[in-house]
Each structure stands twice: as C-alpha cells, then as structure tokens.
Symmetry: C2
Subunit: 128 residues, 2 copies
C-alpha cells in the first residue's frame, strides 16, 4: 500500500519528481497493487504541506508514463501493463548505471577499480 508519510522531501530536488520516483519505486519493488487509489490532489498536498498543483504535476507525469489512470472527476488509480512495467524496471536498474559508467570511463577508471569502490561504498552504513 502506498504510504506517502514515508516520503521525506528533500529540499534540493524538485518535489514533483520526488513523488514520481517514490511511486515508481514502490511499483518496482512490489509493495503496491494494481487498482490501488492515490490520494486526491488536495488531500496529498495537505499531507505533504505543498501546493496542489505540484501534486497534479507529479500525477499527470505518472499518467503520461502509463502508471496511473484518472477517471473524470475522480481520484487517480494505479494501473500499468507489462510493457510499461518493463520500461520502469529497466529505468530503475540498467538505466541507473548508464550515466555512472559513462562518467567512470571518462574519469579513466577501470572496471575492477569501480567494482572495488562499489563494494566499499555499499558496505558503508547499512542503515535505514
């Protein structure tokens, strides 16, 4: 189930994008089901203490990406098909490493160096 109270807003990244990412990750991880309702724009805005338009922007984006459907004058509902799921799955996995690898190569690093750095950083603080 979607629990937006767990979404801690980071002031340095656009709020609407944080909402989008949050929902995508929940779908990807599988903590959320098809047909589940999202809060209304105003409700969610009140919860997060932000402007309803910001929520609207996030939800519209989710709709454009095929993760959400919104009947007229009613609350948005989570809905996606396999194809779309594959897209966000790729985005959250393979897509994540693309820029990273490009940068690492530009910096002159080797694969072995990167894997070593990765292991170290991963071990640091398994908090949360």
């Amino acid at each position: 189930m979607l629990d937006f109270k767990k979404l801690e807003l980071n002031p340095s990244e656009p709020v609407y994008l944080q909402i989008v990412s949050f929902v995508k990750r929940q779908i990807f991880i599988g903590t959320v089901e098809q047909g589940e309702s999202l809060p209304s724009r105003r409700e969610m805005a009140a919860l997060l203490k932000i402007n309803p338009n910001t929520v609207q922007k996030a939800f519209r984006l989710l709709e454009e990406e095929g993760l959400v459907v919104t009947p007229p004058n009613a609350v948005s509902i989570l809905h996606w098909d396999e194809e779309i799921y594959a897209v966000i799955q790729k985005e959250l996995t393979a897509g994540l490493v693309v820029d990273f690898v490009a940068q690492a190569k530009a910096n002159g690093l080797t694969l072995d160096m990167v894997m070593e750095l990765l292991r170290n950083e991963w071990a640091k603080e398994n908090e949360r």
Copy 2:
C-alpha cells in the same frame, strides 16, 4: 599537455563546469604537468566560441580548488600540492559512487544485482 580541442561541449551541461571537469580529469589521469600554462581567457573563449567570462568562471573555480595559480596580469598556470591531488582523486573515484549507491539502494537493488548490471553496461561499447 592540455588540449582543449578535445573538449566537446555538451549543450545540456554548464560550460564552465565542463571545463573544470576536463582539467581535473587530465590532472588525475596524469596527461598534464605542474607548471603548464593554460590559454588566456580570451584565447580559450575564441577557441571554444564562448564568452570570456565563462572561461574566467571556470578558471577561478579551478583556482579556488587549488589546482591553478594566476600571477597578476598573466596567464594561469597548473599548480597543485599532494593534499589537493588527494582531494580530487577521491572526488573522481570514491566520490563518484556515493550518489550512485544511494540511488541503487533506494531502488531496492542488491549489491550483486548492481555488479551484474555494471559488468553488462561496461562491456557495451568500449569505444572512444
């Protein structure tokens, strides 16, 4: 030796940052020596077809980070000490993975998954 002709400007990232990164990477990789001169602001601006102030901003940043020194009314010169070198070395290696790991964890990925993705992406196109 610094060859700014190899610096292909990417329109979607600030130019002055691209210049800074370029120089840092050259220092880190070791294709450049202490005492080497940079082009004058105007010269470099002409070469890259950008505004001299943009070059100035980049060079000033490099100076603030301790990679460059600029005598009065003269061209800037590459100069750094071991401590500063260690800083940018860390920035270009360990520092690179920090955000990446944070994101991967947020997406619910495991270390093994990430390493696998990394190998795949690294193998893709060893061009350049």
